[in-house]
Amino acid sequence: MIEGIMSGLLDGFVHLMNPSTILFILIGVTVGTLIGALPGVGASAATAILLPVAFSIGSAGDGLVMLAGIFYGSMYGGTITSVLLRTPGETASIMTSIEGYPLYQQGKGGLALSLAAIGSFVAGTVGVVALTIFAPTLAKMAAVLGPVEMFSLILLSMSLVSGLGGSSIPKSLIMIALGLLISTIGQDPIEGVMRLTFDSRLLIAGIEFLPVIIGFFAIANLVTELDQLSDTMDFPTKIGSIVPKAKDLKDAAMPTTRGTIIGFFCGILPGVGATISSFLAYATEKRFSKHPEKFGNGAMDGLVGAESANNSSTAGSMVPLMSLGIPGSTTTAVLMAGFLMYGLQPGPLLFERHPEVAWTLIASMFLGNVMLLVLNTVTIPFFVWVVNRCQPFIAPIVVTLSVAGVYTLQNSMVDVWLMLVFAIVGYVLEIQNYPLVPLILGIVLGSIGEMSFRQGLIMSQGDFTIFLTHPISAFFLATAVIMVFAPRVYKKMRKRTIT
């Protein structure tokens, strides 16, 4: 089997060695990086827009490598604006702005950017290797986890990240509850009736996640800055060294590894994807960290873990597409349409019927990740130079980018108003020391948790024990219980042995 893979991959690389294909990979990853950096336009919209363009290129290989390049490239680009402007370009870089911006303020912005790029590269590449070798086996895993298991997994995630709230547990819980409440606004996912919309056009679509985080982080941050200073805004100018030292790389090694694994598995699961994977990786890093108190004020390991996770998740989400022929996310649905347009049917038979296309695509992901690493490290000084040059105008630029980006999300002003409302809410909450991360978490995990919970109850016709009788689900729930109580029990036991 390994031999077959090696020879297939080799063939793929041979197909790549053609100037036009390389050019299209480069176009794909560049567009991806830009899309990742700008708030609003996401990978799914960008690939859909470029689908007819890709089709007119003619060669199946060239078109598909470009579309895929946009997809995995978008996870790189988010880092730059997150670290330098505290403006997450897409939802999966939210953790990057939480940790990256403080690092930038501390003069470690260059290191944060380069380590994030390296972590992304490692995660992206390892993800593709895993996709190449284990895809058929892993696809079965995606199918094994149904709604029941998904709900328990979400609960487990919540227990993991409940520790992210900072010092006050009641405040964290309040914020999680608020997030869950916000996630219920809009159409009921099962019955289709409207909830908490007060008959307002503003609310019938529910609260999109991006306006919330742009409001909370990018805009509210500006207000805070304005609040603290009189006439000049004190944005940092030094970014420190870009080239990581051996010790930096050593410190980043484990977070990258853990992030890669978490991201890849989250990517495989339908409907989970990059954003949740970055949350989980971040929470995991906090658990493992020797300095959990640094989280929120510039923890390099948290940043690296989250960035690695969102990159390997894109490789993970290719698993169900390539090996089952089923798209688990919007972007992979667009990619699937791309395959169909060229008369190719993704799925288990793709490697038999069209091995050259399948292997070219996989080989292109290796090459594309190398391009992205270069693109995202060599250009750091340039971006920093631009940001420094624009010092007096940073605030208007951030506002303009945010408004334009959030508008394009659904082509509607509603999201812009919501963003502004959440900017005020975020500002008030921040000065009152309410942690924002649990609230965001509530919004993200709430809707998928509710959906799977109610699906589970439909499956059991209303019997709650279904979550305990399914073995995998029971395992997740048990782990969640351990996650919540183990630290306390451990602490008590240690106290006892000391005294």
């Binding site: 986890l145 709604p147 289709g192 019938i204 105008f393």
Partner: protein, 348 residues
């Protein structure tokens, strides 16, 4: 001073390029997005009211898709937009406006002027299902005027290949014996696929439970994993898993068989009267002048008959089911009424 000037220059350069990127990447909704970004929405471009009607169109035409990118409606719209400039003489820009099963886009569309510069993909669930399950601010038949129907996307009933059923009859027999136990996934609440299941229930007096997922893909993965017994979705989406033996197909929901699976019987052929269409049609605001509508219809018709469109549709496995004007409206109305009857019959 000099430094400031330089900084200002750099900033405007960056800003301009960023805006260009934002604009281009939404495919020239830039005339909307950039202006609205800079100024309040009141000043959104008011196109060409003054222009004489015979020169229509003298600017790009928007085609609003009430769903996110990647679905069958979105792909149909993009296929149209790729070819229509040849006949319309202007670009057609696809604008995705997802939210609340299409209700958001349809509600917002009420505000558009009847000048032909804004079209919307309509005729499927936002026209037939959503107004039946909850109160909405639009009337799908009087607030919009249908121009053409592009396709009637064919759904099929798939089940996990380990299930013992090979025909609809066997599935229904099982469902009759085990009420509430047979569960089929759907792509989300308020969709056509859910109402296909519910109309089967009404026609056969059984209780198959539709279970909504966030997308057709998620429903399909759950069916492959055996968490639901099967799912209802487009023929095309289930084809890969069908070919690899993970799924079985029991019936196609259409008037005629689907060319992708010519051996599979339709629901009607299996004696089940439950056909519900998934019309993908194009509409404009009510009161659009006849000359403009005729111009659009003729351009759309020529597009749909164009070879490059046909070949693209074929590649996307989209069967073209062209209808025009009132034919579309009548077809959509039939479905609306059917959904209404189904709801009335199954309401407890």
């Amino acid at each position: 001073m000099r430094k400031h000037k330089k900084a200002g220059f750099v900033m405007s350069l960056v800003l301009a390029s960023m805006m260009a990127i934002v604009g281009c990447s939404t495919q020239n909704t830039s005339n909307q997005s950039t202006t609205t970004a800079a100024t309040p929405p009141k000043e959104a471009p008011a196109p060409v009211e003054t222009a004489p009607k015979d020169t229509f169109p003298n600017g790009p035409v928007n085609l609003i898709v009430p769903f996110g990118p990647g679905g069958s409606a979105d792909l149909a719209a993009r296929a149209i937009a790729a070819t229509v400039p040849k006949y319309l003489g202007q670009a057609v820009i696809v604008v995705n406006k997802p939210g609340a099963s299409g209700e958001v886009a349809h509600t917002d569309f009420l505000k558009e002027k009847p000048d032909g510069y804004n079209m919307i993909i309509s005729g499927n669930s936002p026209s037939t299902v959503v107004p039946n399950v909850r109160q909405v601010k639009y009337d799908p038949f009087t607030d919009f005027e249908f121009l053409v129907r592009i396709t009637n996307s064919r759904d099929a009933v798939f089940v996990n290949s380990q299930k013992e059923w090979n025909t609809m009859e066997e599935l229904i027999e099982h469902a009759r014996a085990n009420p509430g136990k047979v569960q089929l996934g759907t792509s989300g609440t308020g969709g056509i696929d859910e109402f296909i299941i519910r109309s089967i229930n009404r026609a056969e007096g059984v209780e198959i439970v539709p279970m909504p997922f966030n997308s057709g893909g998620e429903a399909q993965i759950a069916a492959v994993g055996g968490h639901v017994d099967g799912f209802v979705s487009s023929v095309v989406s289930g084809k890969p898993a069908l070919d690899s033996g993970q799924l079985k197909i029991l019936a196609v929901n259409a008037d005629t068989r689907d060319p992708n699976v010519p051996d599979v019987l339709t629901l009607k052929e299996q004696g089940i009267e439950a056909a519900l269409n998934n019309n993908i049609a194009i509409a404009v605001p009510k009161g659009t002048p006849k000359e403009i509508k005729d111009k659009l219809i003729s351009a759309l018709k020529q597009t749909i008959e164009d070879e490059s469109f046909i070949s693209m549709a074929k590649k996307l496995n989209m069967t073209i089911d062209y209808l025009e004007g009132d034919e579309v409206k009548n077809k959509v109305k039939e479905d609306y009424d059917l959904v209404k009857e189904v709801l009335a019959a199954t309401k407890k």
